[in-house]
């Protein structure tokens, strides 16, 4: 680190060689900032795309389950329809049996009615105790036959109603089966679409990750360029170099150094730091306390007329 006076530092900063170096440093820093931003952006896009791919895949699996549920439901309905068909065969068979039974009772009822008419006519012609007893027996037989007919007919009608109910339910189930099958197909298609989209997103995420890696390389290269430029500054300008300041020993005071800011920072330091401004720092505190370097101070040694004027002139109430 070479000792310099302030005008020498300023002269160094004004040299074309230093200006060229500074331009290069700024370019490298701009490249680093751009690469940083690009890397951050790509990394966030990659993460987002991976998450979206994963979410789409999960949704596709859920949708596939829903398609499976629809298809299962359709299969159950087919099974139910088959059951109903079998039940309807049994019900029709029961009905036919009952219809046959009712027909028989109907014939029996006709025969008993004929017998009753004959008994009634015979009793009217020859009223005897026997004919009266025969007539009463015939009336009872006819009454029983009529009751049987009525009861069995009602059962026959109920059986028919059951047949019709089963047929109606069977028709309903058969109609719904196809709808459920189509719904299952549609949902399966949706799931397939989602799987394809998930794959596309995975591919996009892989591409983005590759771009992010490329950007990371650009970042590393810009960082390396900055490190190299700082190293160069050390050799070319005879200074100690940090990332934010260049340091030169002060010729007139071993305990002090000049530092040249390479950054614009209004927050971190005790003064608002502007690029290429020269500050004076002591060796102990370094840049934790920056003093803007001045070659034209101090006024006290020269004796300042203003103080005398202020103290001695222009008092209120005194003559000017």
């Amino acid at each position: 680190m070479k000792p310099l006076r302030l005008p020498e530092v300023r002269a160094l900063l004004a040299q074309p060689e230093f200006q060229a170096w500074w331009d290069e440093l700024q370019k490298a820093r701009t490249a680093l900032t751009t690469a940083d931003k690009a890397y951050e952006e790509l990394l966030s896009q990659t993460t987002l795309m991976e998450f979206r791919a994963e979410l789409t895949q999960k949704n596709a699996i859920d949708t596939l389950y829903r398609a499976g549920a629809c298809e299962d439901s359709a299969a159950n309905m087919v099974f139910e329809a088959t059951e109903l068909e079998n039940r309807s065969f049994r019900a029709v068979s029961d009905f036919e049996e009952q219809r046959f039974k009712v027909s028989e009772i109907w014939y029996r009822l006709g025969a008993s009615e004929k017998d009753l008419d004959e008994k009634r006519e015979g009793h009217n012609q020859h009223k005897t105790k026997k004919s009266e007893a025969d007539l009463q027996a015939s009336e009872r037989a006819h009454h029983t036959a009529a009751e049987d007919y009525e009861r069995e007919t009602a059962r026959k009608n109920r059986l028919w109603e059951e047949v019709e109910r089963i047929w109606a339910r069977s028709a309903e189930v058969s109609l719904l089966v196809s709808e459920q099958r189509i719904r299952g197909k549609r949902i399966r298609k949706q799931a397939e679409g989602m799987f394809a989209m998930a794959e596309e997103r995975k591919q996009r995420a892989r591409d983005l990750r590759a771009e992010a890696e490329a950007s990371s390389q650009a970042r590393e290269s810009a960082e390396a360029r900055i490190v190299k430029l700082i190293e160069e500054a050390r050799e070319r300008f005879g200074c100690a170099a940090g990332e934010e300041f260049l340091y030169f020993r002060q010729t007139d005071n071993q305990k002090l150094a000049f530092c040249v800011s390479l950054v614009d920072d209004g927050e971190t330091y005790n003064v608002e730091v502007k690029p290429l401004t020269v500050y004076s720092v002591d060796r102990q505190r370094g840049v934790s306390f920056l003093e803007p370097a001045r070659a034209d101070a101090p006024s006290a040694d020269e004796g300042d007329q203003r103080m005398q004027d202020f103290m001695l002139k222009g008092r209120k109430g005194s003559a000017p």
Binding site: G266, N270, V271, E272, T277, F289, E291, P292, R294, D296, A297, P298, S299, A300, D304, R306, M307, F310
Partner: protein
């Protein structure tokens, strides 16, 4: 922010030469406060004074019962925080931004740097502070006399 323009117009830096004003501008740090934000509280430690660049600040002080009362409103080019620099005591009042405010901060350390380089300039800054304090004291005396 035109730091030099503000500093050149502030009563705190009256009588300073262009070089001195330029140096003070270099030593000052811009700060900003949103409306309602407190710069410092009464009773806090402090080693900086502030010049108002834009906006308005309220000077608030607690009375004997602890109720905070507005005692002044300061405008651009006026300054505050100087009392703690002079008497090395705790902050005598709370400063709160009445509007969005931009400030310039000068720490005791930075003023010391100024003193090291421009002794008479520094003396003028101290005189300017004394003048303002003197004006305030005169006003307070007048108010006190009116009450007695």
């Amino acid at each position: 922010m035109d730091k030099l323009g503000v500093i050149a117009r502030s009563p705190l830096f009256e009588m300073l030469s262009d070089q001195e004003l330029d140096y003070v501008a270099e030593l000052s740090r811009p700060r900003s406060l949103a409306a309602g934000q407190v710069m410092f509280e009464e009773g806090a430690l402090g080693d900086s004074l502030f010049v108002i660049v834009s906006g308005e600040v309220e000077v608030l002080r607690r009375d004997a019962t602890g109720v905070q009362k507005l005692i002044a409103v300061l405008n651009p080019m006026e300054f505050f925080g100087e009392m703690s620099l002079v008497d090395k005591d705790y902050r005598s009042a709370t400063i709160r931004a009445r509007t969005d405010v931009e400030l310039l901060q000068l720490s005791a350390e930075n003023l010391t740097t100024f003193r090291k380089n421009y002794r008479d300039g520094f003396t003028f800054v101290i005189i300017n502070i004394a003048r303002v304090l003197s004006t305030r004291l005169r006003e307070a005396n007048t108010r006190l006399a009116a009450r007695l």
